[in-house]
């Protein structure tokens, strides 16, 4: 019983050790993780964030081409000219009006463009600002995270150190306990095996004293008996296995075992064997 207990204790110890190994391994991982995160952040800052200097300027609208002046008018031409002038004036007026309209249109377009550009710029600036803010925030967050992580790592390290110290102490204690236990086990094992062997020798001498050896039981003879026992040590059956002895030898060993019955009871903690294998092998 105690033996089984010992065995399971050993098993538990072994299991505990294994478990400890498994839980002890992780601490190195977060440190690596911190480093990896910092790298990632740096990469983001240099490659992915858009820079305001790099943004292309807004496209300018094309200006209208300049118009050349008209030649001087003739007398015939005065009417004509007048007409022409009138027409011209009208024309010009129209032109001017058109020009005006064009100008207005242009101005409107320009204004619109300017407005658009301003808006775009504004938007761009806002975007840039936003980007910058975001970047700053990200940087701040990263710094905060890094700090936090650093703190965390430091805390963890400290914790680990503490844990390691605790574990070492526990291990030491366990080792001491183990040693003590093994010493106790040694004692108990010695005790148990001593009890077992003294019981065996008790049975052996009992059977040897009961074995009336016939003259034909000489060295070289070897016979194996399978003996059935019941609680209390009474022999209930004797069957002969491998045996190179003659009938007298077989008879004598069977008789010896029955004459030795009942066999002495086993020491505490050792169950009564229901089967006894006895080898008769005279040595002299």
């Amino acid at each position: 019983m105690s033996v089984v207990l010992h065995g399971s204790l050993i098993a538990l110890l072994a299991l505990g050790w294994w478990h400890f190994r498994q839980t002890a391994a992780p601490p190195s991982v977060p440190i690596n993780a911190t480093v990896v995160d910092a790298h990632t952040l740096k990469g983001v800052g240099t490659a992915s964030t858009p820079s305001p200097q790099q943004k292309a300027p807004p496209q300018a609208q094309p200006l209208p081409a300049p118009v050349e002046g008209p030649p001087p008018p003739t007398p015939d031409e005065v009417a004509m000219r007048e007409q022409a002038a009138k027409e011209e004036a009208e024309h010009q007026e129209q032109a001017e009006k058109a020009e005006e309209a064009r100008q207005a249109q242009r101005k409107a377009a320009e204004a619109a463009a300017a407005e658009q550009a301003a808006e775009a710029q504004k938007a761009e600036e806002a975007q840039a600002a936003e980007q910058a803010r975001k970047l700053a925030a990200a940087k701040k967050a990263a710094a905060k995270l890094a700090a936090k992580k650093k703190l965390e790592a430091e805390r963890k390290l400290a914790e680990e150190k503490k844990l390691a110290a605790q574990q070492a102490a526990a291990e030491r204690a366990a080792r001491v306990a183990d040693l003590q236990q093994s010493l106790q086990e040694d004692e108990r094992a010695t005790e148990a095996s001593g009890a077992l062997s003294s019981w065996q020798s008790e049975i052996t001498s009992r059977i040897q004293n009961a074995w009336n050896r016939p003259p034909t039981a000489q060295p070289g003879i070897k016979c194996v008996l399978n003996v059935g026992l019941v609680q209390g040590g009474s022999v209930t059956s004797v069957s002969i296995g491998d045996c190179n002895g003659d009938d007298a030898v077989r008879q004598s060993i069977q008789t010896a075992v029955y004459n030795a019955s009942p066999l002495p009871p086993p020491p505490d903690g050792i169950p009564f064997p229901h089967q006894l294998i006895i080898t008769f092998q005279p040595t002299h």
Binding site: V4, A189, W211, P214, D247, T255, N259, P271
Partner: protein
């Protein structure tokens, strides 16, 4: 230091867990491993229950079996007054009762009349602990052969439990000396191995010595001093027909049959005065000299393979046992070195042991055995005047002549080769000496 400790601790815990896994309750079959490398060498407790007997000459078959088994040194009996019951068949045996009474094994049996005026002896050997029948058999014979049937039962039981072939249904030959002075008679007797059922083979006013069995158990060779001259004879046990095979000048003694039964090793002195070992071919009377030294060489014994002859020689001063090839001109090799006196060699039929008479430091003559492979020397008998060791055909026991205590007359005794037990046989009349244990009877 610490890592080692930790390592050891972990290892131990692992082992413990592994053990616990092995021992874990019911689901996984709990097992424990035990190694047995030695045992005890005690007599096996056995109960020989009196057999149900038909009217006979009163032979107590169970009693004969019990006497055989207990006498071998390998069994101890459950006395009849301690028996929980008297079953005569396996069906009547209540298992468990016998173990409780102190016996691992139970033998039950019956003697029943069968056709032709014969008797059948049925027996069943049971293991009380397992409840199993180990051996059961029927022997049929004439009523006068009832003891022999009982010995055969003993043989079967002995082999079933010891693994060694029983040698109870065998015979012995010995020399008995009856009467005294002018009435002194020398007798060659053949009896059952337990000393019963004696048959007089030859009787003589002159000394008879050194009976020896032929390997087939049909013949006996012996030395007779008829007419005051030593001569070697061979005699057919059943018919009494006999032949004188050697009556040369000087000593004619110590015949020993070769394992093939065709030759006799003899001790002959001829005219030289110092005895030498010879081999006589029975069919041709061809004689071959084996030893050649100006010392005493006698008491030849064959190795079971017939290649060597062991003999006693005083060539080194005191008698010791030597061995040489059973061919002329071979160079003898000294075998015994323990004690100053070793004589009368006899090789066990399995070729492993050499039995001899040894004189210990106190001057007592005792039977000892030497392991021929290892040289290990073991004193078996107490002494003081133990002589003529002879192995049982199963090599498990030795019969010898003894003079226990201050008794004037010799008796025959057996002892198991491991020295476990001794059994004195009842002498018939007067002195008994020179036992020779015969071969297995087919």
């Amino acid at each position: 230091m610490k890592p080692t400790l930790r390592m050891a601790s972990l290892l131990r815990i692992f082992l413990l867990v592994a053990t616990a896994a092995c021992l874990a309750p019911p689901a996984a079959r709990a097992q424990l491993q035990i190694q047995i490398t030695s045992g005890v060498n005690n007599p096996v407790p056995i109960a020989i229950v009196p057999f149900a007997e038909a009217p006979t000459d009163g032979t107590d078959v169970a009693g004969v079996v019990q006497h055989d088994l207990v006498g071998s040194g390998r069994f101890t009996e459950l006395p009849r007054d301690k028996m929980p019951a008297t079953p005569t068949s396996a069906a009547d045996v209540k298992f468990g009762d016998w173990k409780a009474a102190g016996s691992d094994y139970v033998v039950v049996g019956q003697v029943v009349p069968v056709a032709g005026g014969q008797l059948a002896v049925d027996f069943n050997l049971l293991n009380d602990l397992t409840g199993q029948s180990i051996a059961r058999q029927r022997f049929v014979g004439t009523p006068t052969a009832l003891r022999n049937a009982a010995h055969r039962v003993s043989d079967v039981i002995y082999q079933a439990i010891t693994g060694i072939r029983g040698a109870f249904a065998t015979r012995i030959a010995y020399i008995a000396v009856a009467g005294a002075g002018a009435d002194e008679r020398f007798q060659l007797v053949v009896a059952d191995a337990d000393g019963y059922n004696q048959h007089l083979i030859l009787e003589s006013r002159f000394p008879l010595m050194s009976p020896a069995w032929s390997p087939d158990g049909q013949w006996l060779s012996y030395v007779s001093f008829e007419n005051h001259l030593s001569a070697v004879y061979v005699q057919r046990v059943l018919t009494g027909q006999r032949t004188r095979v050697s009556m040369r000048a000087g000593i004619n003694g110590a015949p020993a049959w070769s394992p093939d039964g065709k030759k006799l090793a003899l001790t002959l002195s001829g005219n030289s005065g110092h005895p030498e070992i010879y081999v006589l071919e029975l069919a041709t009377q061809h004689l071959t000299r084996i030893t050649d030294s100006p010392s005493i060489n006698t008491e030849a014994a064959w190795s079971p393979d017939g290649r060597f002859i062991y003999f006693t020689s005083d060539r080194a001063g005191e008698p010791q046992i030597y061995r040489c090839a059973a061919t002329p001109g071979s160079n003898p090799e000294r075998i015994t070195f323990t004690d100053e006196y070793n004589a009368g060699p006899h090789v066990s039929p399995d070729g492993k042991l050499l039995a001899m008479v040894t004189r210990d430091d106190s001057g007592s003559y005792r039977i000892a055995v030497q392991n021929l492979a290892s040289g290990e020397f073991r004193m078996l008998t107490p002494g003081r005047l133990d002589q003529s060791p002879s192995f049982a055909p199963n090599s498990a026991a030795i019969m010898y002549a003894a003079r226990p205590g201050q008794a004037e007359e010799g008796v025959l005794a057996t002892i198991s080769v491991d020295g476990l037990t001794g059994l004195s046989l009842r002498p018939t009349q007067g002195e008994v000496r020179d036992p020779a244990w015969g071969p297995f009877i087919q």
